[in-house]
Symmetry: C5
Subunit: 97 residues, 5 copies
C-alpha cells in the first residue's frame, strides 16, 4: 500500500454502472519522509477520509477486496485513515498532534 494525502474530489455522472454510489477522491502520494510526491491517484473511498488527511491506498485487484468495492471497475481504494507513522522508532506523523 502507499501513503497519500487527500487533495480533492472527482465527480462524474456519465460512468460505468459499477461506479454508481462511489465517492472518488484525488490523492497525492507521500514519501517515507512525509514529503508530497509528484504523482497522484483517484481512489474510491468508503472509509470517509477528509481533505488533507493521510490515508493508505491499495491498488490493483486489492481495491475490490472490500465488501463495498467488490465487482466494481475500480483499481484504487482508500483502505485506512492513518493515525500515526513511526520511522526508526520516532514519530513521522500523528493525526492528532
Amino acid at each position: 500500500m502507499q501513503l497519500a494525502k487527500v487533495l480533492g474530489t472527482v465527480v462524474s455522472t456519465q460512468k460505468d454502472p459499477s461506479l454508481t454510489g462511489c465517492k472518488l477522491l484525488l490523492l497525492q502520494f507521500i514519501d517515507e519522509s512525509g514529503e508530497l510526491l509528484p504523482s497522484y491517484e483517484v481512489a474510491a473511498d468508503f472509509v470517509g477520509a477528509g481533505t488533507d488527511e493521510w490515508v493508505l491506498v491499495s491498488r490493483g485487484s486489492a481495491a475490490r477486496q472490500s465488501e463495498r468495492s467488490d465487482g466494481r471497475a475500480l483499481d484504487a481504494l482508500v483502505v485506512a485513515i492513518v493515525d500515526t507513522v513511526t520511522v526508526n522508532n520516532s514519530s513521522l506523523y500523528k493525526k492528532y498532534q
Copy 2:
C-alpha cells in the same frame, strides 16, 4: 484510477477475438494540476467519451469488471467521463465551463 484526456483512436482488424466490438481510445494522462503528462494508454471505451474530454481510466484486472469488458483481453478501460475535479476546495476542471 488515473485522469486522462482523449487524444484519438486506434483501429485494428487483425486482433484477438475477445476484442471484437471494442472501441479503442488513445488517451494521454493528466497530472493533479491538469497538465498533460508524457505518458499514454490505449483503453477500451463503452461509456462514449469524445476527443479532448477528461476521463477516468481503470487498469489491470479492474478493466474487466464491467459487463461489456468481462472476459476480454483488455488491461485498460474508460470508466467515467469527468464532470468536475476539485483540488483544495477550488475547481481545477469543469466539463461545462
Copy 3:
C-alpha cells in the same frame, strides 16, 4: 494497452510447460507521437504479427484472457495488429500507407 513495434523474437527450449507452443516476440514501446520508447516487453503472440509491425499489447492478467493464452504463465500478450492510429483527428499511423 500499449502501442509497440515488433523488434524481434525470443526462443527458449528449457521453460515452464505452460509456455509450450508460444511464439514470443520482443517488442519496443512507442509513444503517442510514434517515437520509439527506451523500454520493451517480451509478449506471446497468437495473432501473427511480423517484424516492424505496430501492435497492441495487454499486460498482467489480461494476457491470459484469450483462449490460446488461458492458464499459461504469461504476463504480456499481443492482442492486435494496428491498422491506424488517429490523433486529434489527423492520422499518426497507417499500416497500408
Copy 4:
C-alpha cells in the same frame, strides 16, 4: 518480489474491516548492491519482521495468497525475512554477520 528494509510502522483505527488485525510495516526498498532506494511500500506483516531487518515483499494479488492475508484489501505483504543474499557467488548480505 523485492528486497526491502523495515523502516517503521503505520497505525490506523479507521479502516476497511478487512484490515483488522493486520500489522502494517513501512519498508524502504533496497537495490541489488544493498543500497537504499528512494521508494517505499506499506506492507502487511504476519512473519514478524523487526526494524532494520531485510525482508522480501510480494505485491499485487500475490499479497493475498497467504492464509492470513486471504480476502483482505492488501496489495503488499512481507513474505520472508532474509537470511542471506549472494551476488556472483559472493555474499552481499548476511543477517547474522
Copy 5:
C-alpha cells in the same frame, strides 16, 4: 515478460509457509540491446537457471500459473531460460555462442 540475467540467490528460513521449497533467484533486468538495467527482481525458479544465464521473468498473477507456483505468495517467476534473442533479423544473444 522481461529479459533478465541471473545475478545470485536469496535465502530465507523465516517465511510465509507458501514459500517453502522455493528457490529464489536475484535477477537483474536486461534491455533490448542486451545491456544490464539498474533494476532487479527476486523470482522463484523451478526451471533450474544458473548464474549469468539469460532468463524470461513473468510477474504479477502470471507468476502463479505454473503447477509448482500455484497458490504461493509469489509475484515473480522464472518461466524460461533463453536460448536466442533476435533483433531486426540479426542475433543479439545466443546461449551457446
